[in-house]
Symmetry: C2
Subunit: 223 residues, 2 copies
Amino acid sequence: MFKTSMRIAKDKPRFLGELGDLSHETVSASEFKYSHGNEIFGQGEAADYIYQVVEGAVRTHQLLSDGRRQIGAFHLRGDIFGLDNGDVHRFTAEAITDTTLLLIKRQSLERVAKTAPAMVRSLRTMTADNLEHVENRMLLLGRQSARERVAAFLTEMNSRATAGGVIALPMNRRDIADYLGLTLETVSRELTKFQREGFLAFAGTNHREIVVLNSAGLAKIDR
Amino acid sequence: MFKTSMRIAKDKPRFLGELGDLSHETVSASEFKYSHGNEIFGQGEAADYIYQVVEGAVRTHQLLSDGRRQIGAFHLRGDIFGLDNGDVHRFTAEAITDTTLLLIKRQSLERVAKTAPAMVRSLRTMTADNLEHVENRMLLLGRQSARERVAAFLTEMNSRATAGGVIALPMNRRDIADYLGLTLETVSRELTKFQREGFLAFAGTNHREIVVLNSAGLAKIDR
DNA sequence: CGGGCGCTTGAGGGGTTTCAATTTAGGTGG
DNA sequence: CCACCTAAATTGAAACCCCTCAAGCGCCCG
């Protein structure tokens, strides 16, 4: 794990995106690197920071005592996470690949928020988006079939993680399965089916790169 | 639908509970009655109010185009709902039984919040609790068995809706099923099994009144 | 080049759903 | 107050979707 500390001013928003643009104050932030598989924060730990993905990918999850896992979300380049809206994290966050994160002290953010209403609105929006995502997930996990779930996953990733028309999946089949409430075998089978049916094609050799050929069709399967 | 309007002062909190206690300002609120099965607000409508259950019970749900339904939450006496954290409702809310609600204009609440930090904290806490509930639901819907789901439901209701040791369920089996991501038949079968195994007993004649005989056992099944 | 991990694929099994019938409870009107 | 009607809940049998267990393949990395 590697650390650099810095000070970010309004006119020099290194990567804070929305937050940096909106703030007219300085926000203290620092960059950390996490290598493949390492924990960023654990369930139950104090939520002192919020995070933004500079490079890489992150997964958050909850566990049952016997090891069953539910992944709550994947966070990709630019995504902000960790605003769990409480003082304790209810998920564990791990780096999927080698990942660089921007850490922002929650305290510092709240101090700035006092004088920057736009920042408050921005934080609100992010929390609302977060909630909406989780609520849609509930419908998917409670009421959709394996085929629909995988179609939904592809549709989501296709709108978030495409580079040159290709989805480069940072996560393995087990991660996808634990995100969708399925087994990795079922995910694999559904992907193969979609390929045979012409909805997608595998670009790379390792089956982690997917080209969606019929996104409208997939969206329709998802409903 | 019947309406009475009123003005609620700090020292006369009619039923505002937390909110009334915390506020040092007046909040304009009004009471509405909804009869069994009626819609309180619909998915996509503007979220101008927040609601508190004075009497009765409410369910919120999302629908798929073919009628599959996922219930997000049940709201019982005293519960506050509708702080969807956006300007549009993402769920439809319906009265399960004849229900009396307290409506509070969101605007009015935000105005008061400006001068009452305790109110802000209270609203935050409620939103956080809301999010936590939804997140736990994700784990249940994605990774738990029917037996575990029903045990979780009974554990939840046992801590929320008991009167004299008896859970008086306001909702029918289909509502429970749509809450747990199961079919009503599966819910019925699991309840019968729990009865045979001595975890619970049916109090009334209509199987809507349940006495939990071994709450520790049920909690253990839920994990 | 060998080992291991990730992914795919197959066969079989099981938990939940689907379809269907029966029982029970509650409401209504004669 | 009872017969009737309808909705709710239970119960059974069969089907099905997804999971479990297992084997095989290919790619990446040491």
